[in-house]
């Protein structure tokens, strides 16, 4: 019996020729990631382990992105723990503000994650790197601590669901709509424990930024990882970024899938997820009566250059609706700079939006745009749980950057073709 791409990556990192779904294996890791919320706990666990030195100074990546620039004294203390640890251990990949970005935008951009890698991160959206054909998954702080000490982690080899997207993508439909539609179809635990493998002719021509968006939200379907098969688009993206050797894996033709689901993308419209679960999806044309108080464009889901480009193309020469607050978060310093050079930032500011330094900010209700009781936000982020962006009685709707930008102009959820 053949193996899926995810199973192959696990097998190789466990030093085995073959693994079966359900098998538990111990693997060598390529990258171990932590942020300013999860790393302090992991660092104290690491100290408890009694190791002097981390296993590999180059494989650990620490990104203080959630509450930075430090939002208050507590978050300043947390960030300081990372900074001190990185210094003491001589970590190569610690990113201070000024160089940092939202972790899942930053690592691929900096060439720190590569096809064929096995990656864990003490953050549930670590699955984003599956867009490069890596096996990447979120874990808890104890896993991160042990991995920093030993360079290893244990895994249960997952079964897989194959998602096949065919047909021609309509205008204004992108990766965010494909993944929201998929989650709407299978539910928030539809891929629990499983690998989500994204394939099909509509994927073949999908840009890397759109693929990051899709892999990012695998966890919102309960998935262990989301993964794409390395192709020209992926290899071109990593070519001048990744400075170390890497290997490309593909699923065997006789790999076993628990299920294969097919979607005709030509029938899709932009998708909105209604409160309070990402599975509550509707097409945008069925959502136009929802008035919005705040729009957030950014996050590890949709804070990349292509996302800002599409938002700028819609906002160019227009004004934000007077009753809407629009906050835009470029994912990294590099993305910020590109947006600046391409004139997107000017467009945003002229339209009446605010543009922030890279940070997780309001995505997790952290800072820089918290909602009051009863307020509604439309966000390009990935979670719309109760209270996610502020008051427990506020609401979050999820959409693509195109819909978010169009809605910014109209003050209610709006299809991009209406502005």
């Amino acid at each position: 019996m053949g193996m899926t791409i995810s199973q192959k990556i696990l097998a190789v990192h466990a030093g085995l020729d073959h693994v079966e779904a359900g098998e538990l294996v111990n693997c060598q890791l390529d990258v171990i990631l932590g942020n300013d919320v999860t790393s302090p706990v992991a660092i104290s666990e690491f100290d408890r382990l009694g190791y002097e030195k981390v296993h590999d100074q180059e494989k650990i990546v620490l990104v203080p992105d959630h509450f930075t620039p430090n939002k208050d004294i507590k978050s300043a203390e947390q960030a300081k723990i990372l900074r001190d640890f990185a210094k003491k251990q001589g970590l190569t990949n610690y990113f201070e503000i000024g160089q940092m970005g939202i972790e899942h935008c930053l690592l691929p951009e900096q060439g720190l994650v590569a096809p064929g890698d096995l990656i864990i991160g003490a953050d549930s959206h670590t699955c984003t790197y599956g867009a490069l054909g890596a096996f990447a998954t979120g874990v808890g702080s104890t896993d991160m601590a042990a991995a920093m000490a030993t360079g290893e982690a244990w895994f249960k080899v997952p079964e897989a669901i194959k998602f096949v997207y065919y047909g021609k993508m309509p205008e204004w439909v992108g990766g965010k709509d494909l993944i929201l539609h998929t989650i709407g179809d299978i539910g928030v635990d539809g891929a629990r424990y499983m690998s989500m493998e994204f394939t099909g002719e509509a994927i073949d021509s999908l840009s890397i930024d759109n693929r990051f968006t899709m892999a990012n939200m695998a966890i919102e379907a309960g998935g262990k990882n989301g993964i794409f098969t390395p192709d020209e688009i992926i290899l071109n993206y990593v070519k001048n970024r990744v400075k170390r050797p890497y290997k490309v894996y593909k699923s065997d033709l006789d790999a076993k899938y628990l299920e294969i689901r097919e979607y005709d993308v030509s029938k899709l419209e932009p998708v909105i997820a209604f409160p309070h679960l990402p599975e509550n999806t509707r097409f945008v044309s069925e959502a136009t009566d929802v008035e919005i108080d705040q729009i957030v464009i950014g996050s590890c889901t949709n804070g990349r250059t292509e996302d800002l480009k599409i938002a700028a193309s819609i906002l160019k020469g227009k004004k934000v609706h007077p009753e809407v607050r629009v906050i835009i978060f470029p994912g990294t310093q590099q993305i910020y700079l590109e947006a600046l050079r391409n004139g997107y930032i000017e467009t945003f500011v002229e339209a009446g939006a605010v543009v922030s330094t890279p940070t997780c900010g309001p995505c997790l209700g952290g800072h820089m745009g918290i909602l009051a009781k009863g307020e509604k936000a439309l966000a390009t982020t990935n979670r719309n749980f109760v209270g996610r962006m502020g008051h427990p009685e506020s609401e979050v709707y999820l959409s693509s950057p195109a819909v978010a930008a169009a809605s910014a102009v109209k003050g209610r959820i709006t299809p991009p073709w209406e502005v």
Binding site: L24, G50, G138, V139, G140, T150, D189, R192, G222, K224
Partner: protein, 163 residues
Amino acid sequence: MKLTGKVHKFGADIDTDAIIPARYLNTFDPDELAKHCMEDADPLFPEKVQAGDIIVADKNFGCGSSREHAPIAIKGAGVSCVIAKSFARIFYRNSINIGLPILECDEAADAALNGDELIVELETGMITNKRTGEEYQAAPFPEFMQAIIHKGGLINYVKAKKS
């Protein structure tokens, strides 16, 4: 390792907020967390539970956030093992990592009633219901995971391996 304990039965989709509500997350102390374990699913649980007892639940136990406080609270309450039809992924990992044995077994979960006594053999995955005498086979843990649980969690396991 052989465990014997009394069953506390729960339904499907018990989330991490039900296991340990967010309002108690300002501590890592297992004893403190144990005082509120399963509180939002069964307010009397912290009083009723005795050392060695076993939680039996339906599907998707531990869904929701990645907080390690959830398995810590259950372990802190003295629960020796959780048997469910299925577990949410990060809860599963975190449980093993902090040394809380958890087993997936549809039949055992269906058949067990509140108050039944179960015998669980972690090496083989064999579950015996003392009341009915029936036996159920859950997937046994491989050796290295048994070793993690045996040592009381990943941190102790790695420590022992080092020395």
